[in-house]
Amino acid sequence: MEELLKVNDVSMIFGGLRAVSNFTMEINKGELVGLIGPNGAGKTTAFNMLTGVYNPSEGEITFEGKLVNGKKPYQVTAMGMARTFQNIRLFSELTVIDNVKIAYNMHVQYSLAEAVCRFGRYFNEEESITKKAIELLKIFKLDRFKDEMAKNLPYGEQRRLEIARALATEPKLLLLDEPAAGMNPQETHELMEMIRWIRKEFDLSILLIEHDMSLVMGVCERLYVLEYGFCIAKGLPDEIKHNKRVIEAYLGEEVS
């Protein structure tokens, strides 16, 4: 299998705190990998290192063989990694369709002069961006809200819009930070179906951070478990389920 993302012995140190220590992970093309762990285990820190928000203190991250360390978030996105946020970060005062159109920005060819003077490629490209955005919204059943302000959408739709927006950047690896946060079991189930379907439809790899065990166990093919910044276990969901260290991390040690 082709290797897409490689995290090699990476640590993140804030002053005296090692938020993530010697973390190693790899994601192959087409895989659906989960990153789990109790609160404060360093999952989001790990995520932020992958997406360029933090520059790792030690170690190396490569994406398709290219170094991610020291890249800015927008450069990482241009390399083909897109993410969503734990707390939704939509462009809330803009319309739903504009949210998606903004994400197509990287693929816009026309120049500033063409945009301001309205000639050349401007009209054709604007048309094709709008068309693409509407198609993407249709896939996520959001097209009927297209002229609505993003902030006026119901919570579940906002989550879907955030995923749609991330997909509009045309990524090879999609990073989802707790997509099921605040969802009820029914919605979580739907989300699970959607994640599987996205991977197939868009032919990409997915890394998922999640609290919700049922979601993770149901959808991920491989798991990494973090606790206090250390990776305490990795493997198939079934192995993780019965791993003593993981049970201890989540439920506490057994009293002897």
Binding site: T77, L90, F91, E93, L94, I102, L112
Partner: protein
């Protein structure tokens, strides 16, 4: 997409009609010199508020040093025509470009700041520009640069204003403009969408500063003089007030704000003792009742009144 072109042409037509009407009224002396002066001032203020709206309203970078760029444009333009004896057209171009260049140079370091810090930095920079000019003997120092010929006519001011409005409107409705809006809405999310936030912030700042320079050239070449006292931070606040009054992030709001405040100020010229009182009261009442500004971030358009047509035409008609 043809409908957009038609829409633009219709707006342009409406502007031409408006121009013809005002020009005729000026020609037959129906509009006297006092209101002629104020019409020019309104147009200059429209350029300023629309260009500041690009920075503050669209990109969300709170800048209050716009008078500094106005000063740079005014002085550069005056040097071109007075000291070097070159044509007014060249003064417009050079004034705009030098102001834009300064905006670019200042923008690169300061736009790393945000919120209050950026406001303080731009306020300081506006003052630095003024103090520098105050101490340059070549441009007259504290007594100002005098003897500037009056090249600015109603036609120049009007068509440049329309040009600036069109450029900024088209900018907003394009990919770079959407990037600026995204930065205003959520900078972190914008960055993860592949937007180089620094680049677009500096771009908006440079364009805004450049047009403030254009306004400066028009200003200096109408009032015969470029004087440091015209470019204090109070002038920056005036422009900011117009933008906020109209509604941050609304082009028609910025235009209406500029027209309204300049007109009120002119209409009250006969009652100098009451002028500031009424002016301030207007602002206070408006801010209490509509803290988001007259239009919020919405655009005024004829569609609002159930008619087809253009918002620019409508807003300029209110002049």
């Amino acid at each position: 997409m043809n409908s957009i072109k038609k829409h633009d042409l219709a707006t342009l037509g409406a502007c031409a009609v408006l121009f013809a009407i005002v020009q005729t009224l000026l020609f037959v002396d129906f509009i006297g010199p006092f209101w002629e002066l104020n019409i020019i001032l309104i147009l200059i203020n429209v350029i300023l508020s629309v260009s500041l709206n690009l920075i503050n309203g669209y990109t969300g970078q709170f800048s209050i040093g716009h008078a500094g760029f106005l000063a740079v444009g005014a002085y550069t333009g005056a040097i071109i025509t007075v000291k070097l004896g070159l044509p007014f057209e060249l003064a417009l171009v050079v004034g705009t470009l030098s102001s834009a260049l300064l905006g670019f140079l200042i923008g690169l370091p300061t736009l790393r700041l945000n919120g209050d810090y950026l406001a303080i930095a731009t306020l300081g920079l506006g003052e630095i520009i003024r103090i520098c000019i105050l101490n340059i003997e070549y441009v007259g120092g504290a007594s100002g640069l005098m003897g500037i010929p009056r090249f600015t006519t109603f036609a120049w001011a009007f068509w440049i204003t329309i040009f600036v409005i069109f450029v900024i409107k088209n900018f907003k409705n394009s990919a770079p403009g959407r990037c600026c809006l995204a930065i205003r809405e959520n900078e972190i999310a914008a960055e993860t969408m592949g937007i180089d936030t620094t680049k677009y912030k500096v771009m908006a700042f440079t364009i805004g500063a450049g047009f403030a320079g254009t306004a400066g050239v028009l200003f200096a070449h109408y009032f015969y003089i470029a004087h440091p006292a015209s470019f204090t931070f109070m002038r920056s606040f005036d422009i900011l007030t117009m933008v906020v009054l109209g509604g941050l992030g609304s082009m028609t709001g910025a235009i209406t704000g500029a027209v309204l405040l300049t007109a009120i100020s002119a209409a009250l010229a006969e009652y100098p003792e009451w002028r500031m009182v009424i002016y301030s009261l207007t602002l206070i009442i408006l801010m209490i009742n509509r803290p988001q500004g007259l239009f919020g971030s919405k655009e005024l358009s004829l569609k609002m009144f159930g008619l087809g047509g253009s918002h620019n035409g409508r807003a300029t008609e209110s002049k």
